[in-house]
Amino acid sequence: MSDLMILLQLTIDGLTRGAMYGLMATGLALIFGIVRVINMGHGELFMLGAYAMYFLTAVLGVPPILGILISAALLFLAGMAMERGLIAPLRSRLGENWLVDGYVLTIGLMVILQNLALMVFGAREFGVASFWPGRIEMGDLVISNERIVILLAAFVLAGALGAFLHYTNVGRAIRATAEHPRAAQTLGINISNMYTLTFGIGAALAGAVGAILLSIYPAFPTVGGEILLKAFVVVIVGGLGNVWGAMLAGPLLGLIESYSTAFVSGGWQNTTISLLVILVLFLRPQGLFSKQVVRP
């Protein structure tokens, strides 16, 4: 296998992995950018998506693509219910200080959801073999069909989210709410609904990623921990609350992980990534992809 082929292989592996980090982080960034809550329970939404996917496909025999869509839809509803039931009351009650309370609330949510999962499903891992077995071989280069589907799914989901935010009335209203909630209100936008909807979308993304990655990360109560950590790194590198930054920083992180495993040695990838976070925080705390927006 030539060096170029190895590099190509590592690139593809890194991009696939990174695409999913990016989608997780996009949901996190969306929720932070608009609802202003740092959602510590985001990994548990991933976990719920994974369980949903397992029961839909392995137990009920639903086809995988449909399974992903249903998992995302279920998490969309769950996310909206969480926002309306738990976060919205804090926002209306606590004025400026509610953000810290919101943050603590999501930590509580994380613990509760993990333990509920443990009670209901036990500590056992619910996994599946690949949904899309087989692979494509081009000379020395081997790409599993699964990776192709994962990359494709990432493009479709990121594209759909971008199109929604930029080319629909509701998408524009969500962005307006993030930038100037009071002005948005006076134009007739119901900002509470926008917050709820945004949380639902962020949760749906986490659920979709949990479902897509079921064959790689089987469902178990604390499966969301590692992926949440990765998503936070992506959010820091991409810029806090910056949705596009998260989409770009995800693949970047995946590549760094992939290359450092190969060129330094296995086990070093987490060190490299921590180093990246420290560098970014020192040199460019607003994130690599954040433009300084002119504020009035």
């Binding site: 009335n169 524009r172 209203a173 962005r175 307006a176 930038e179 100037h180 009071r182 002005a183 948005a184 209100q185 006076t186 134009l187 007739g188 936008i189 119901n190 900002i191 927006v293 002119v294 504020r295 009035p296």
Partner: protein
């Protein structure tokens, strides 16, 4: 005279558990009239507007729009009730393009796609600068251009009552003049206007009727003509 465009009666309001900031305020904006509300910083002008526009719930009193009680209306119901509110400071969405800002001005209008393009086209004809900048993020516009965008966005929902909060603050005199010229156009199209400002001179120049607030109460009111020759006195005494 038919019901006033806006009738505020005996409003009492304040923040949290604090004392009343508004101690029983009443005012009227007649249909098609331009009414000015003057007062120093801290007189309660902003609190009154926040109460009318639903950001604060009044402790007592009523707000009625063309005879219909709208006390405690939610702010996001303002445009549906025909109220266009231009808040103090800038209210464009800086990360959205000029066109996107305008599109959101039609949010509550339930216009068809074609009608929406039409009203935005009209806004572009009135303010051609917006057309040349339509794909630029609004945060990159100058302060004056942002104001032009805000006025254009305000007019899109065809409000019957326009409330302007401190629109002259921090603007060059020429732009203040242009802003008020636009207010006169909207009035000519049939809107009633409530202008709140610290600049007595600007308000007296366009208002028909004046209220002067002090310490949470209406201190004085009357036709603007009666005040015009006393601008300096009023400014010294109340503002």
């Amino acid at each position: 005279m038919s019901a006033s465009a806006l009738a505020v009666d005996n409003i009492r309001a304040g923040y949290g558990r604090g004392a009343d900031v508004l101690k029983g305020v009443s005012l009227r904006v007649g249909a098609g009239a331009v009414v000015g509300l003057l007062g120093a910083n801290g007189a309660g002008k902003s609190t009154l507007l926040n109460t009318i526009c639903g950001f604060i719930r009044p402790r007592a009193g009523t707000v009625a729009l063309s005879g219909k009680d709208i006390t405690g209306l939610k702010p996001d119901r303002l445009p549906a009730n025909g109220i266009g509110y231009m808040m103090e400071g800038h209210s464009v969405f800086p990360g959205l393009t000029v066109l996107e800002n305008l599109l959101l001005g039609t949010w509550s209008t339930r216009l068809s796609r074609a009608d929406r393009s039409n009203v935005i086209e009209q806004a572009f004809e009135r303010a051609p600068i917006l057309r040349t900048k339509k794909s630029i993020r609004a945060g990159l516009l100058s302060g004056g251009q942002q104001r032009i965008l805000e006025m254009a966005r305000l007019g899109l929902s065809r409000p019957s009552l326009i409330i302007l909060d401190e629109v002259s603050l921090g603007l060059a005199p020429k732009l203040v003049h242009e802003t008020f010229a636009r207010v006169n156009e909207l009035r000519a199209e049939g809107a009633s206007v409530l202008v709140v400002d610290q600049s007595a001179r600007h308000v007296l120049a366009i208002a028909d009727y004046i209220y002067i607030m002090r310490l949470g109460e209406i201190q004085m009111e009357g036709p603007a003509l009666d005040f015009r020759d006393r601008v300096e006195d009023i400014a010294r005494e109340f503002i």
